[in-house]
Symmetry: C2
Subunit: 444 residues, 2 copies
């Protein structure tokens, strides 16, 4: 079989376009309705997609005037989706800055078991002051410290997930011995940020442990991904940028001694699908016309590290923007936005419209064949192992993608027509990891 | 309608009796099987019980030789049960010592919304060194500090759950205003242990917020329950002890200005049910005969605050045990065990057998009518508003209770024959709380 695409459905509220909720077709209360998300997961599973994904952050980001702002906690929501589906992978964002390793590793391990080995963790460091202020802090921890903490957090999580040997449970009723205590491996971790002595109270799952996903594209983010990530979500506006990123990350993974094929790179795409190119463009313009830029302006200013007053809606970006190095937040997203504005000579209002669709991810309006061509082009030309599909309107844009684009990709032999595996690792072509602790002496 | 019983099914692994897993009927892997728990929740719902409950702690407590030791994280597991049921309440233990208020309040709020207002939180301070050592500590935080932290944690959680006015969402598509930002109330909390500035990103649920449950019976525990708890799980061996506790807690609740009827007191009972008294006793003895006391001895020693070497299996408890005041762990449980041993002149081996069934809760072996009589006796005589049913073997003892005892209680007019409400609060006869923040100025 030829090399196969991997497709993830990034489910966000009623759609990635910030004005999706204003369309007549949209249920504006759906982001609190578990049935809405179950429906989305079932549509994605009907399309044989590898996984669904929920982004997250522990704060109310926005003014609630702007758009649907509720966000059910994603390990809870994915557990509900696990019960509504049987094959599709379930990936959630969770922060290494605002969780404890024992609790978070346990929650993902539990989701992984409840779902039969379908869990994935998108590891983020949460670059937002609003979140910091919900966790006893006055300031955002520095970029560097957040990544150091993240690395140790993941190291501890991996130890915790390997607390039990795969054959630790004996269930020997006759002799009254349920498990073999010699096959429990407490981490005994003592690091810079964390001390975690004891074993997890959840054994390994069908896929060993959850798939590790990462989405930061800064220098620290790339190194982190190269060391740990098994799938990478990334944002690029051009083929050449995506190729540069793809080559760079595969090379870094190899430098870490890893098989580059075990790091799946999935750029985001916001597909606006219609029966003709002009109808697709019209759909996109209808959505952009519903954006209220006054809500987006403060967010853009924060991303760029400038006061709101320095941006004017109908002017281009100021010349004297802070460099990426000066930003403690989402570094690579800042650079992407600046480059987008400069490359295409966009006004601030136009930038807001472009970001309103996909927050820096590529918006692509076209026919099903054009969307399939775009996906194949990047896939065939060293820019992607698959795509992170970001439907602008939910459920309709996901339905369009699954019913109209997926069949084309299947006909071209690029995408599965049936699931061949049961776990998320199997969908992504990732091996089940051996237990890193097996055979080591107990040291609690 | 006469005063009604409230019944909670306390679901633990394959049963509360520590040797339940050794019975021929038991699936020894069931504690990792979400279908096992879904089946239990459905049985309990068939019996019209108020709620199911999962205890929890963030550590691998035991040697895994002893008994099934895996514990799926309960907010995850209850979310799975929410999808398998439609009416029954869903209560999980979570620790105020080893969580952050924003994360935990959010997770319970999410479960509450996903389940349509059926969530409850059993608030614990986690009195175990093993847990402390999984969260960067070398020692168990002192009893007093744990309770001070718990009180502030709950205060913050209540503020977070009231972050959104009930009518904050406008969904005004025409004017592009999704919600009214003036109806968001960020806690702006700055306390001794926590600083939490921003609003929760989850609105209020159908029942306002999760029901608060508590189970500590020490002096600090009683005061905490009197102030916050809406349901109380408690352990008593005798009617008079249960009456003393009941009177005391209702009085303390009134002193806090609360309606004592809004604090439901549910002693635990481990019902061993058979068609004759002798068959029930035989069942109990069969289970006790399967206990291996060498596993339980260190745990008993820890509870009593003495070295293992000071306990001898076939002798009574030593005379010179530390007083309750000297214990930093489960104070009231220690006293219950000491009193039980002294009152009935039990050997250590006999105490272990008694604790192996219900860890200090009342084990009652008898016919369905005898179990119903026991329940009614405590209910009619000022000792209980209902019971925390702790089936010794799962699923069979829960099935026995639901199919054989519940109908008797229903015939006597003591227990509902159909659900009349949809939320956990409605089942327990608790009012939906008003938003404590409504009308206050935004102060972030």
């Amino acid at each position: 079989m030829s090399r196969q695409l991997h497709l993830n459905a990034f489910l966000m509220s009623v759609g990635h376009h910030e004005a999706a909720w204003r369309l007549p077709e949209t249920d504006p209360y759906a982001d609190l309705d578990v049935e809405h998300f179950k429906n989305l997961a079932r549509i994605a599973e009907r399309g044989k997609l590898d996984s669904v994904f929920l982004a997250d952050g522990p704060a109310l980001w926005d003014q609630i005037g702007r758009r649907p702002s509720a966000a059910l906690e994603p390990t809870v929501l994915l557990t509900a989706l696990a019960g509504a589906t049987s094959r599709i992978g379930l990936i959630a964002t969770a922060s290494t800055t605002y969780n404890e390793p024992y609790n978070l590793a346990r929650r993902f391990a539990s989701l992984d078991i409840v779902s039969g080995g379908r869990a994935g963790w998108n590891i983020v460091t949460t670059a937002n002051l609003e979140a910091a202020r919900n966790f006893n802090l006055d300031h955002l921890p520095a970029h560097k410290e957040r990544y150091e903490r993240a690395a140790e957090f993941v190291d501890v999580s991996l130890k915790l997930w390997d607390s039990w040997d795969d054959d630790a449970v004996l269930a020997d009723k006759e002799n009254g011995v349920w498990g073999d205590d010699a096959k429990i491996y407490p981490p005994g971790h003592e690091g810079q940020f964390y001390r975690v002595a004891g074993a997890l109270n959840v054994p390994r799952s069908a896929q060993g442990h959850p798939v590790l996903v990462q989405a930061g594209s800064s220098e620290s983010g790339r190194n982190f991904a190269a060391k740990y990530a098994e799938a990478v979500f990334t944002a690029h506006q051009t083929l050449s940028d995506a190729q540069e990123f793809y080559d760079d990350l595969k090379r870094r993974a190899a430098e870490h001694g890893r098989d580059p094929d075990h790091v799946k790179i999935l750029p985001g795409i916001v597909p606006v699908i219609a029966s003709s190119p002009s109808a697709a463009r019209e759909k996109e313009e209808q959505l952009n016309g519903l954006i209220k830029p006054e809500y987006a302006l403060p967010q853009l200013a924060a991303l760029l590290g400038v006061p709101v007053s320095s941006l004017r809606l109908d002017a281009q970006l100021p010349d004297d923007l802070p460099e990426e190095e000066a930003i403690e937040g989402a570094k690579s997203r800042r650079t992407l936005v600046v480059n987008l504005g400069r490359r295409e000579n966009l006004t601030v209002r136009q930038i807001i419209a472009r970001l309103g669709g996909g927050r820096g991810h590529l918006t692509f309006a076209g026919t099903p064949v054009q969307v399939a061509d775009q996906i194949q082009n990047w896939f065939d030309n060293g820019a992607a192992d698959g795509f992170n599909i970001m439907p602008p309107v939910l459920p309709s844009s996901l339905t369009d993608f699954v019913d109209q684009v997926v069949p084309i990709l299947q006909e071209r032999g690029l995408f599965r027509t049936e699931y061949t595996g049961r776990t998320l690792r199997e969908h992504y072509g990732l091996p089940r990891p051996a237990n890193r602790n097996a055979g080591t002496p107990v040291h609690i």
